[in-house]
């Protein structure tokens, strides 16, 4: 009897911890959204500056996500399917940007593309990353590539290579089998990876700040807008940016959960 009571208490206590955490999170979000009046929030959302930030964030994050897909698909496939010398080291290196503080990643990108002859050569050819929207894309790509890569690697690993073997006995080349069988079978992983990468791209701040700077109406993404307006006391504008970011995060999280059992990847 006593032990059963204790067991019941244990259950209740652990659940309480979960509840307290949840209340904390929800309270924080509600606090942000309700900080200004609804009218001020709407006005700020419709302001030219916020509109610019929304547009820039959407464009840069979509483009950087596309680049992440283009590069991660073959790389993740190679590391999921083949055995070769140096595979483990390669795997670890490809995960490094994940562990690196974004500010450090930003500094590294700034040094490579801003100060070396490689970066200067690119700039002379018209491809300028420093203090441009292109730099935002570069920063988002570099910092978020590991997320795409890891989701895809897990996805490809989860697909029995025998599907491809059968496809090859049915007349497909290796690439053909990948294209017609493995890739369509990876649809959910590709979807989940794209969402998480895109969502993180929208929220990317540190690395983008280092490479592209924070110039109002030029390299002003939503997080930069939040930062700029917070520092000069334009609270409604800052809250507007924060609100949009919250909505995007919640929607992305919902879609991500729907498409994947990949939560363990992170």
């Amino acid at each position: 009897m006593f032990s059963r009571l204790r067991e019941a208490n244990f259950k209740i206590i652990t659940i309480l911890f979960g509840l307290v955490l949840a209340v904390f999170i929800v309270a924080l979000l509600i606090g942000v959204v309700t900080h200004t009046t609804p009218q001020a929030l709407i006005d700020s959302l419709l302001s030219g500056e916020t509109q610019f930030a929304i547009r820039l964030s959407l464009i840069t994050s979509v483009i950087s996500t596309l680049f992440c897909i283009i590069v991660s698909v073959p790389a993740a496939y190679a590391l999921a399917r083949y055995n070769f010398r140096g595979k483990n080291i390669l795997n670890t290196i490809l995960d490094v940007p994940l562990a690196l503080p974004p500010l450090v990643a930003g500094v590294a990108l700034l040094i490579l593309f801003g100060t070396t002859s490689f970066g200067k050569g690119l700039a002379e050819a018209g491809i300028r990353f420093v203090f441009t929207p292109l730099g935002i894309i570069l920063a988002q790509f570099f910092v978020n590539m590991p997320f795409m890569f890891r989701v895809l690697r897990t996805t490809f690993q989860g697909i029995n290579p025998r599907y491809e073997y059968v496809a090859q006995t049915l007349g497909s080349t290796e690439a053909g089998a990948f294209w017609r069988v493995t890739l369509p079978m990876s649809r959910n992983g590709l979807m989940a990876g794209s969402i998480i990468t895109w969502c993180r791209g929208i929220g990317e701040f540190g690395a983008a700040l280092m490479v592209a700077g924070s110039t109002r109406m030029q390299t002003e993404t939503l997080p930069i807008s939040l930062y700029l307006n917070m520092s000069c006391g334009e609270l409604p504008l800052a809250i507007a940016a924060a609100t949009i970011l919250i909505v995007i995060s919640l929607v992305s999280l919902f879609i991500f959960e729907k498409f994947s059992g990949f939560a363990h990847v992170f």
Binding site: N160, R162, Y163, Y165, V166, A167, Q168, T169, L170, G171, S172, T173, E174, R180, V181, P184, M185, R187
Partner: protein
Amino acid sequence: MVRVENISKNLGEFFLKDVSLGVADSEYLMILGPTGAGKTILLETIAGIYSPDKGKVYLNDRDITTLPPRKRNIGMVYQDYMLFPHLNVEQNIKYGMRSRKLSKQEISQKVDKLANLLGVAHLLQRHPGTLSGGEQQRITIARALIMEPEVLLLDEPLGALDSKTRIKLREELRRIHSFTHTTMIHVTHSFDEAFLLGSQMAIMNDGEIVQVGEPSEVFRKPNCKFVAEFLGVTNVFRGESVIDNGIAYININGLRVASATIRDGQVYTSVRPEDVLLSIKPIESSARNSFKGEIQDISDTGTIVRITVDVGVPFVAAITRRSFLDMGLKQGMEVFLTFKAVDVHVF
């Protein structure tokens, strides 16, 4: 005609060691062996998924060792189907037709023909995930056969099915083989399948082929202890064989067993339990071997009862349930075992 010559392949956990094997046209070869014997990798090497470390693969005397799978025209069917889940049944069956230069009409005729042959015509618009195991395996066979392969490789195709479906599909395979005359190489764990389908049988162990022959031949005359034990041939003993007057007498732990196979020195012998006659009184017969012993163990498997009798060594006799009941056998009873010298197999 498929021929592999001295194939070696090392995949770490699985490997092949110097495997040579020939399969004639229209042959139905069964491959048996314990898990990890290298059966699947042999099939996959023949299909061209792995290139062997050493050795050659020939198809109709053409060296195809370095040819990619798509150029071999060898079909593959796996135990767990490997149907493409994002395609419906029709798209699965005609997957391979893209590499053939055929009109849409010709392709759909072929699909219909095979779907009818395998009884899956009503499933064409369904997706594989919604089908039963038996239905899925029929579709994989159709998908492979539409290519009109020279050789069809089947890796435990009936292994994942329930027993009723397995028997049905086994008959289907036999029908398809007699109908298409496709050369088949079929890996299985089931002796029934090996007997009912195979015109030839190969036993694999440890990456090697240890015996090849007609199934009944292999069962009757295992060429080594491993094959005898693997095939569940009981009454396998080791002894010293001495030839006396044209008959070999094998001394097994004091028991003197006569054999018609003349060989001297250390040998293994086996006697199939169903060749051993069990009686309560000694029988007058031409059979040379008759021993008295005590019943040690009775194992009732339903229709057949296996009686272990201690005649110096534990000897198993298989009798029908009917005669088991008629004789009223019990543990500890004294009985006689009789068997012919020709039934004592020596290897």
